[in-house]
């Protein structure tokens, strides 16, 4: 059981460019699965390398169970990193690759052999012992890389996009596998992804990074229900943002006044945000305004409408059957469920 604490962790590769990781504070709970989420180049891999001891931070500290481990070399940290591009050692067989960590720990050959076989069963590649890495597909290599890390039973497991090369079916299976092993062995696991859905499905907590800076560190549903900024809401698929003025549980906008009990701001300038799934068309139940349907798409599992409300345009995702009820150009009542509205502080550039 290892709790990982990052305090003001910073990495700046050169003076001319901004830091790749910028004063990152993170409390990674022991035995939990934490996702490091963010767009390409936001510093995910850099953060992982620093935790693993493979990259020296410019400043800040990393603690395992409250003790700084900056002076401990990578091989003694008990944190194993699985790289984005798997890095199977090309001169070794699959068995030698998986057994590498145990060999370094001077485990005897016979035990290594049995444990390698067990691991290959676990990642569903039995009988692959004598193959060479280049004879494997990308997805197979990725699973071998995972097996090679798991076999040493690390205290902290760092997975850099472990599922990026798997097809949908295998990806689900591997998610289950990582989840199962992680809970069974209670390994503190950090995994990197730029896929918000994967983070939501797999993680206990998500740390969202933009440009090396932590945006929000929270349980997955918080990113949908109470994102801390418009950028965060957008990253998680939010589309409807209406500026206004917030006071006494109500927000006044150009298209009307709405009840909004849930808010990130006390009062003053604010932005009404509502997810497209929470916008309903048809019956006016209060908190409604009239809008005109501009266009719609039928996607099968759902339908997506674009509606103009005066100067503003919003998106609604509805039951697919609704395409039969409305035509483009129709006037319809548009309802924002008060429980689903989330009032955010305005984007910093608009302040």
């Amino acid at each position: 059981m290892t709790q990982v604490t990052l305090s003001a962790l910073t990495k700046q590769f050169d003076e001319k460019s901004p830091p790749a990781v910028d004063r990152l504070d993170l409390e990674i709970e022991s035995g939990k699965l934490t996702a490091l989420l963010g767009p390409s180049g936001c510093g995910k891999t850099t953060t992982m390398k620093m935790i693993a001891g493979l990259l020296r931070p410019t400043s800040g500290d990393i603690g395992f169970n409250g003790e700084s481990i900056l002076s401990i070399p990578p091989e003694d940290r008990g944190a194993v990193m699985v790289f984005q591009n798997y890095l199977l050692f090309p001169y070794m067989t699959i068995a030698e690759n998986i057994g590498f960590g145990l060999k370094m720990r001077k485990v005897d050959r016979k035990e290594i052999r049995t444990r390698v076989t067990d691991m290959l069963d676990l990642v569903q590649l039995p009988g692959f012992e004598d193959r060479k890495p280049r004879q494997l597909s990308g997805g197979q290599q990725q699973r071998i890389a995972l097996a090679r890390a798991l076999i040493v039973q690390p205290n902290v497991l760092l997975l850099d996009e472990p599922l990026s090369n798997l097809d949908a079916h295998l990806r689900d299976e591997m998610r289950e596998l990582i989840r199962r092993i992680q809970t069974e062995m209670e390994i503190t696991t950090v995994f990197v992804t730029h896929d918000q859905e994967e983070a939501v499905v797999l993680a206990d907590r998500i740390a969202l990074l933009f440009d090396g800076q932590l945006q929000q560190f929270d349980v997955p549903d918080a990113f949908f229900e109470s994102p801390e900024s418009i950028e965060i809401a957008k990253f998680f698929g939010g589309t409807n943002f209406i500026p206004g003025h917030y006071e006494g549980g109500e927000i006044t906008t150009a298209i009307g006044r709405f009840r909004a009990p849930r808010s990130a701001v006390e009062g003053g300038d604010a932005v009404l945000s509502i997810r497209p799934e929470a916008v309903t068309l048809g019956a006016a139940e209060g908190n409604s305004v009239m809008g005109r349907i501009r266009s719609h798409v039928y996607v099968g599992r759902y339908a997506r409408f674009r509606i103009t409300l005066g100067e503003i345009e919003v998106e609604a995702i509805t039951d697919p059957a609704q395409v039969k009820l409305f035509n483009d150009g129709d006037e319809v009542p548009v309802t924002f469920d008060p429980a689903k509205i989330w009032v955010i502080r305005p984007a910093s550039s608009e302040q």
């Binding site: 493979l54 194993v80 370094m104």
Partner: protein, 292 residues
Amino acid sequence: MTDTRIEPTGAAAGAVAPEASERRFSWRITGRWVGITGLLAFLVAPIVPLFIWSISFRWFYPAILPTEYSARAWTEVITPHNDVLGVAWNTALIALVVTVLSILLGVPAGRALGLYEFRGKRLVEWMILAPIIVPGLAVVLGIHVLFIRAGLSNSIPGVILVHLVPTLPYMTLVMSGVFANYDTDFELQARSLGASRWATQLHITLPAIFPGVVVGALFAFIISWSQYVLTLLIGGGQVQTLPLLLFGFVRSDPAIAGALSVVFILPAVIVLLLSSRYLSGDNAAVGGIGNI
């Protein structure tokens, strides 16, 4: 990281692929044969006339082969009073030490040049290339003065040191080519899996750069083994090597010179043939020589 699954576009693609790969395969075999035959022709062919010289007694124009043969030259070479074998051993020993030193210094230097960007890198590259471009004689005249002061002239250590002047650049260049294509993340991965610094060098780095080291070592050995001018100047006649011995006989006794040449060339040919599999075009090490 190739994915071997066949795309759904189907049977057609699946049927073409094996044929194409077979064709490529047979080309590669043909290419290899041309390569080996060429290597043999260039390396072995010059030895044949030398060998004939060494066993001829009478060989005058217009006869194509000698009219009379004799084992005199070879007896001379083998008799202890000429100490040919002793000199050959000396030459080999110097070449070996030079090779080992070139590896020990050239590998880290090549790593620095191939992997990292640092201020003054171009300057360092030029300094390393300089001994290859500037005639050895010019370099060595400067060094000679220094060596006399340091008491290194007329000694084997001095000769070894001066042989490093041409060998080290080659070793460094070859290794910088190797490291330019090398992903250090493999080392980090090994460290993360529990390998110490030393174990990582042994299990990860060494296998990856081994072909390059072989190629570089080969260059170093052959350059040292065939060195004449540098040995003569710094050794001051006190240090005898095969090339010096050979030159002495070239005018006075062509038959003995022929026999010596065979002794001189053979080790180089053997070493080259043994390591020929590392000299193929796919080898990153060979690419490094392109930097010259």
